[in-house]
Symmetry: C2
Subunit: 683 residues, 2 copies
Amino acid sequence: MGVVKSNSSRRKFLSVLSAGLVAGAAAGFTGGRLLTPTAPPLGKELVEIIEQRKLELIHARAALKTYVPGGWKDEFLMISSGGHSGQVLVIGVPSMRLLKVIAVFTPEPWQGYGYGDVKTMKLLYKGSNGIRLLTLGDTHHPEISRTNAEYDGEWAFIGDKLNARIASISLRDFETKDIVKLPNTQTQHGGACATPNTEYVACGSQFPAPWEPGKGYKPGKTYIKLTEKNFEEFFRGTANFIAFDRKTGRFDLSRSFQIELPPYMQDLEVVGWGPSDGWAFMNSINTELHIGGVLEGKPSLEVGASKNDFDYLHIINWKRAEELVRQGKYVEMNGIKAVPLDVAAKEGVLFFAPEPKSPHGCDISPSGRYVVIGGKLAPAVTIYDVEKIKDAIRNQRFAGTDRYGVPVLRFEDVKAAQIETSLGPLHNEFDDKGRGYVSCFIGNTVDQYTLGPPDYTGDKPFTKIGEIPIHYNVGHICTTESNSPSPKGKYLIALNKWSVDRFVDVGPLLPQNFQLIDISGDKMELLYDMPIGIGEPHYAKMILTTKLKPWEVYSPVGFDPETFEVSPYAIKKGQERIERKQENGKWVTEVYATLIRSTITPDIIRVKQGDLVRIHLTNVETTKDATHAFAVSEYNVMASVEPGETTTVEFVADVSGVFCFYCVEFCSPLHLEMAGWLEVEPD
Amino acid sequence: MGVVKSNSSRRKFLSVLSAGLVAGAAAGFTGGRLLTPTAPPLGKELVEIIEQRKLELIHARAALKTYVPGGWKDEFLMISSGGHSGQVLVIGVPSMRLLKVIAVFTPEPWQGYGYGDVKTMKLLYKGSNGIRLLTLGDTHHPEISRTNAEYDGEWAFIGDKLNARIASISLRDFETKDIVKLPNTQTQHGGACATPNTEYVACGSQFPAPWEPGKGYKPGKTYIKLTEKNFEEFFRGTANFIAFDRKTGRFDLSRSFQIELPPYMQDLEVVGWGPSDGWAFMNSINTELHIGGVLEGKPSLEVGASKNDFDYLHIINWKRAEELVRQGKYVEMNGIKAVPLDVAAKEGVLFFAPEPKSPHGCDISPSGRYVVIGGKLAPAVTIYDVEKIKDAIRNQRFAGTDRYGVPVLRFEDVKAAQIETSLGPLHNEFDDKGRGYVSCFIGNTVDQYTLGPPDYTGDKPFTKIGEIPIHYNVGHICTTESNSPSPKGKYLIALNKWSVDRFVDVGPLLPQNFQLIDISGDKMELLYDMPIGIGEPHYAKMILTTKLKPWEVYSPVGFDPETFEVSPYAIKKGQERIERKQENGKWVTEVYATLIRSTITPDIIRVKQGDLVRIHLTNVETTKDATHAFAVSEYNVMASVEPGETTTVEFVADVSGVFCFYCVEFCSPLHLEMAGWLEVEPD
């Protein structure tokens, strides 16, 4: 069923195209002089389309550069946050087509995520905060698992800023496998970032949380009255290193640790490799410790947090922290080993370096040598040299400490360069030629600059060399496999916050705008505007498609995507049955069902009101794309059962009646007949 | 900020392009004979891209036909169901870009839909079934409001098959305004379909619901034991005509009516105009009245519902039904006036005509003369002549009645034609040249045929004239403004259920595939494959973009999108305040807040545990795209506040602590500082 791409047919087309282009173009330009009867007017066809649609040359170039015919594969996949949709987006590049929205923090019925499917309900409950079932998220920073710091395409990670959680996603089936709430943390921003071999996923707090001394923060349990004094004394941030098990896809808090941080607003984070191996870096914003209070006669946070000229780049020796934990120098709080702030400050775990106020973006050059920060309020990118940082620390060259005793390095001791850019430089990414790119929110540009050696060894290091306008208000940018030792160049995507006039209007809530930019040449070239009308993505990672090894179906039949093993509840066709029994004094009707085009067996399920109904669904299909889904009318129950999968839905038959259930995926000509009845006899 | 489209620059480009195409192509094809120094190699650039990317001519054509530069507007908007995502998709055509996912039946945090925002919470509760809060849907058939049967672009409608509901959506702000559960109905499929001036939105049942005689069906209240005898006697379908108020966007059950139908599985529905004005048509499937029961020794529904050679096309005189209701010939049941089946059968409301078994699609030709049915199990499209139907009814020419006393017409009396097609003809749409198109699920094609007069007056009426392969398993199709008197031709979109090998794999759950097909010429041409990785769309409507008049911002500031008036809770900058008071013996903290880049005022909200917290949020911005959003950490609260909007979030401060709230839309360089604190003092 693949597309025909034989070399001979293509050669023929190109040859005919050339002839036609000559003939067609000539007809308009040189008075038909070359319009011979043997040259079919194929090129003329293209000119006619261009003319009829009033396209400019730049549009024709962009169209031809981005069109990916059906059956062909996009070169890159973008794993993008979905912002406050709570989900993760998977986008093909350069076609800029949305291939899948992965349900992560928000229930989503198409994927049967959070609608009675036991594995996803368990996940959502486990990943909540102990106060209530959380059914939303604000996803910001995705990550892809790494081997030797390179993206390996096995797992993805995403953070929830709003509730300080991280999730793991398998890139075999593109499903969420685990969600963990970061202990002692209320909101989160920096990361997820994997350590070079994905031993840990690092993620820092955003706003500090109230901590009880020695007890930390527990949602719904910890109360500290909000005053300036209490904020300084009792509120704390965290740097978390959450252990990840590559085999099961699960996080393991028992092997994880966190570092207590001052109540500055920690921001973006990155974990190093090469010369920066063992180190993590993290911005901060509100070193003024301002808490706002406009109606209480105080300046707003916007004003109060912008007073100081410098905030603090957090420099974290995470391998040293790991060592301290091994030595027992931690406090166990709410299920995690926390290295206290004074220990981190004294024992060589935490250092600060001044950074331009209210910075954003914290990224590492491909060599691992440079840490690059967006100035945001100053028109400059600030670049730190990791060798200088390590040297200053080794030689204990500090300007002093902050109010919590954390050693502060001298800016001039650790700075590599500052590069002047357009206004509002925000986030940096890199290419395969030693060049950096920075989004400039206020200037509405992406600027291009050179790094220094060893990333860039040409003339004029640390110099701005180009810029391209974007539309409009660019937040993060994403280049191919940036923030790894081997960026691939070629494409940059600007994640623009506003689209204004770029698309057909769809009411006051407009889509975001992903702009695809060609960075392969000397001059950046805008290729495509992709509207994102499904959330507000913050950051994305792009990976070569060839690195991924997705499953086509679940195999063998009966596979449980939660355990990665054959489910004990899997059955074969012919083994369908209904069992009614007591469990802990409660009546349970347990159904073993199969799904195959176009029958759900059993198709009549009779239960008694009040029964717990547990339906094990096995899709016995082995054909790719032969997904079935199962929904019960009036009961808010929905499961997606992919080919080969066994899954279980569970609900209490709390109301009596006769309710239709049916396959919700249009699976065959008799799909409408793939249905049955749940009879709930009144008690 | 618009794109440069000056005529002079375009002419220059075309002229240079022609020159370049000659020069560039010639270089490869005629040995450089025409490569003059005066012709810049612009055309060569295009040839190089085509060559480098190994594109075929058909790909280059498609790329140039579908690329819509940023700043340009798509010619058509597609309003598409989102299947069991429960939402509605808005897609630009021909660029096939997803502009917005409109939250309808499923909560969605980005739009602040169902996360503490009072207007959306009310909507979701009101639109549930009285048993439980429904938080999902299975959207199938969208509709656009009509004036004189033409799409007018003011409102959209969508049905929820799973729970028998319909929703209205304003095409000013692309937000859901109303959801209504169809009384006495459990599942729904046929429609939404607007009557010619949107007096009613018609929508029929799918699976029949158990009815108590004279009392109908009430979810959770009605129980009838499921037996073959009871199914025939006590289960019923419905045809609903739900009154719609164009001014408020609300449905009005008090002015609505329904018609009791036999317990056949009613399927797709259409409402006529012109010669079919006043009539509605609806397929049915299971006239065998089979209920399945595989484990009880009975054939499955798939087998049992396919026994008869014919099912019944339902022919409904809805204006006659409206008249009967005016005459009081109805029973009021569960809030709607229901015309009993025997009354409908006797009083000229309901007729049947035989139709090929298990049909799908029920559509009316542009003239309003022909009703066209997909055969699904037979390789033929069946076309009924409305004039013949009316004539037979007028002359009381019936073959007899069905078991419920409904008059049955003779097939030969009402048939206009049957057209042989590929296997599995499923759904028909039409163009501006009197041609019909039918999706063939099994044959994997879209077939093109001619209608008869007055739609098509050329040679060979009712004849298949073309076909194009699709990829794969096409369900519905959608042409521009089909199912109205004035289809626009030009594009057809095949809503394919399987994508298999068309895109990069993203695990066992694959996207659907919308294929854009050019139907403007003599031969259909495939232009684009669009993955839909966010639900399983069933049907879509395409409308000329120029017909829409969307709002850019809410105006004046303080506008309430629920009432379409200025909110009584709207405030100006400087009027922010916090009030604590008792309401019905309970403490309420009421907050009047403003949002403007980059401050939420008030930024500290102190309440007591147990307070009902009601926060009125006014986005005082008047700039297009300056949306803010408001979320509270750990509290599962999220609101989207578009420029000029006033909205209210409400929640109980049930747990104590200090919780961060912030603007969730990246709105400015100091967006991260647009935040504050909710202090909940323990009781």
